[in-house]
């Protein structure tokens, strides 16, 4: 007898030379039931009872059909073109045992995790397929990595949203050094569009008038000279550096 695929009931792994997959919880339970009933015809009620009823679950017929469809799809992906699960009339099914080799060996999981990306072999994984097996390799590297990946993806989405909002909300400003007068370095906003020399004179007068030149302030930043407002920052340290001891000076002209 030549088997076309190998099935490991303890882990739910099913593989052939062209594909491998880990069966979902329901599919695995149903396949296990079919294997236990190999060679005999089983009916829908038996399937209901063995695959779900034994766990205290009541499901619709469409769930049963869907599970069988998934199993058949898996067999097809494994390259088994013949019908492993044959449907008879009046909702009766027959499992042909000659296609699957059953191996009771939990070591398989290690091989899977070593050789494949779990994301590719979990087409219908319900998240706890391997937990029952007690295989620590699968438990540690399989399902959690998928959950972690999804978590990371959502976290990244949140982060992107936050960063985008900050980009819109927070406006970067920069200053360019202009002149140094009596030990005070005057800077102008990079967006400053007025007559810098004229505003420099005003800024110098202002610093002197407010006696700010007597304090240890050594940096003056001119923000704007447009309209009726002159705005300066008079700082001890470069803006943004040190402790950021700055005084904001706003002059309303000709009120």
């Amino acid at each position: 007898m030549t088997f076309k695929a190998t099935y490991y009931p303890q882990t739910g792994l099913i593989k052939s030379d062209r594909h491998e997959a880990i069966l979902g919880k329901q599919s695995k339970r149903c396949l296990d039931f079919f294997i236990s009933q190999a060679g005999t015809v089983v009916n829908k009620e038996q399937l209901h009872q063995s695959c779900w009823g034994s766990c205290g679950l009541v499901v619709s017929d469409s769930t049963v059909r869907q599970t069988l469809h998934r199993l058949r799809k898996t067999f097809k992906e494994l390259g088994i073109v013949d019908e492993v699960l044959v449907t008879y009339s009046r909702n009766q099914y027959y499992y042909s045992p000659q296609y699957l080799e059953i191996i009771n060996d939990s070591v398989c999981c290690t091989q899977v995790t070593d050789s494949q990306d779990m994301r590719n072999i979990l087409p219908e994984n319900t998240g706890n397929v391997c937990i029952k097996t007690g295989d620590k390799n699968i438990k540690a590297t399989g399902t959690p990595s998928k959950v972690l990946l999804i978590f990371m993806m959502f976290f990244l989405a949140v982060l992107t949203g936050g960063v985008m909002r900050m980009i819109f909300l927070v406006h970067p400003v920069s200053y360019v050094p202009y002149k140094e007068v009596e030990g005070i370095k005057y800077h102008f906003s990079a967006e400053f569009s007025g007559d810098r020399d004229a505003y420099l004179t005003q800024a110098i007068n202002l610093v002197e008038y407010l006696s700010l030149n007597e304090s240890p302030s050594r940096f003056v930043y001119v923000n704007s000279g447009e309209g009726n407002v002159i705005s300066l920052f008079v700082c001890r340290d470069p803006i943004g550096g040190g402790k950021g001891n700055c005084q904001s000076v706003i002059v309303f002209k000709g009120v």
């Binding site: 949140v158 909002r165 906003s189 402790k243 950021g244 904001s248 002059v251």
Partner: protein, 154 residues
Amino acid sequence: MVIKITLCLIFFFLGWFYTPVALKETSGDCISNTILLYNESGRTIISKSRWDMMKGGEQLYHSSVIKDIQEGGDAKNFSVDRTLNVEVDFHRDSLTVDTVKAFRINGPETSDPEYGRYIDPLSELGFTSRIYIFYINGRFLLGFRDLPLSFCQR
């Protein structure tokens, strides 16, 4: 796949809308020193203020000394102390700040005909303005559009 994309979008907008909340919740106390200078014919008014913004940014303490310098050189000083509550409403690129409560501790009322208008406008009940947040070398500045005005000290 569609569910994942939908969830990603939901989480994206969660980040988008939660950022201002997080920003408010994590913003610490902030002190800002401001000098307002009014150049008028016949006199100059200098208002030296200190703003204490409490954590969250919606409660402020304002303390200032207003100096009225007449043309002849005579000067008159008085102080203003107020506590106030503001409401902050975030927009895409800015925020609207409304002064919803203002309590006078010391100094003239805003309605004072001579000095009321020299009291920092933010400390006046009913003040509303679109405020922009600026950033430079790890520091946040607040001000009007393209015009940083206030520097947060810590």
